[in-house]
Symmetry: C2
Subunit: 150 residues, 2 copies
DNA sequence: CCGCTTACTTGTCATTTGATAACTAAAAGG
DNA sequence: CCTTTTAGTTATCAAATGACAAGTAAGCGG
C-alpha cells in the first residue's frame, strides 16, 4: 500500500468525522435556539439581528453579503425590523449614501435575553464536566477555530 | 473575589468563545456548501436529501421530526422529490401504513457529488496543515463531539 | 459640470414554506 | 367486530422569501 493511499484513507476518515461534527453542531445549535423566537420575528430576521448584534455597526451591503440576501430584500427586511423598533439606521457623516445599522435599546434587550437563554443551556451542558474537561473543551474550540473555521 | 465569581468569569469567556465558534462553523459550512445546489432543489429539499442520505431508510415521520416540519408539509416535499426521481418510497412489509424513504440512484449520485465537492474544499483547508496539526484537529473534533455536541 | 459608480429604496411578482382542516387506510386493543 | 390510534395524504390559505426592474441620491474622476 502506498503512502498516498494511506493518507487518502486517513483523510477520508477525518472528513467523515468532520461531516458528522458539522451535522451535530447544526442540530445542537438549532436545539439550543429552539423556542427563542420572540416578538413576531421571522427566522431570517432573527439571523439578521444576531449578525448585527455581534458586528454592529454594519452597513446594509455588509449584512446583505453575510446573510446572503439581495440588497432589495435586505432593505425590505431591515425596514420591517426598523418599523418594529428593533434596529436603527444612522447615515454616515462622511458618505451620506451609507447607512449604518445598529440595534435599538429594545433590539439589544431582546438579543441579550436570547443569548442569556442560550448561555443557560450551554452552562447546563458544561456543568456536568470537570474542570479539566472544560479546559479541554476550551482548547478544542481554539484549535478548530484557528485551523479549520477561518 | 469569591471562587464562584471567578468561575462565572471563566465560564462567561468560555461561552463567548462558544458563540464565536458556532457563528464561525455556520458561516464556514454555508461557504462550503455554497453553489452545491443542483437540479432545481430548494434549500429545504436539499436538507431533506442530506438527512435521508445519512440515515436511510427512514420513515416520513422520522424525517418530519428531525427536519422539524409538519407531516403534511413533509409529505408534500417528499412527493415533489419523488416526482423529481430523487428518492423512493417503499411500503413496510409488516406495517403497511409505514413508508420507508430512500434515495434513488439519481438522488444518491447527486448527494455523492455534493459531498465530494464539500470534501474537496475540506481537503483544501487540511492540505496546508502539518501531520501533527491534522491530528490535533481530529482530537479536537472528538472532544467537542463527545462533550458538547451530543 | 457630466457621466459613471456606489449604496440603497420601492414596487411587483413567483416560489417556497408554514399552518390547519379534513381525509384514507392500516394496525392495535379490547 | 368495533373503536381508537397511528401513518400518511390531499387541499387550501397565508406568510416568508427570492428575483428582478426601475428608481433616487450621493460620491468620484476627469
Amino acid at each position: 500500500m502506498l503512502v498516498t493511499e494511506v493518507n487518502q484513507i486517513v483523510d477520508n476518515q477525518l472528513f467523515q468525522k468532520f461531516v458528522r461534527f458539522i451535522t451535530a453542531v447544526h442540530e445542537n445549535s438549532k436545539e439550543m435556539t429552539k423556542g427563542i423566537q420572540l416578538e413576531s420575528v421571522t427566522p431570517v430576521q432573527y439571523r439578521i439581528l444576531e449578525y448585527i448584534y455581534v458586528s454592529e455597526p454594519v452597513t446594509i451591503s455588509q449584512i446583505s453579503e453575510c446573510i446572503d440576501m439581495s440588497m432589495p430584500n435586505m432593505s425590505r427586511e431591515l425596514k420591517k425590523l426598523t418599523e418594529k423598533q428593533l434596529c436603527e439606521k444612522i447615515t454616515d457623516v462622511h458618505d451620506r449614501r451609507k447607512q449604518y445599522i445598529s440595534l435599538s435599546e429594545k433590539g439589544r434587550g431582546m438579543m441579550d435575553q436570547a443569548f442569556r437563554e442560550i448561555e443557560v443551556r450551554f452552562m447546563g451542558l458544561m456543568g456536568s464536566l470537570t474542570e479539566e474537561e472544560r479546559a479541554e473543551v476550551e482548547r478544542a474550540l481554539e484549535v478548530l477555530q484557528s485551523k479549520v473555521f477561518r
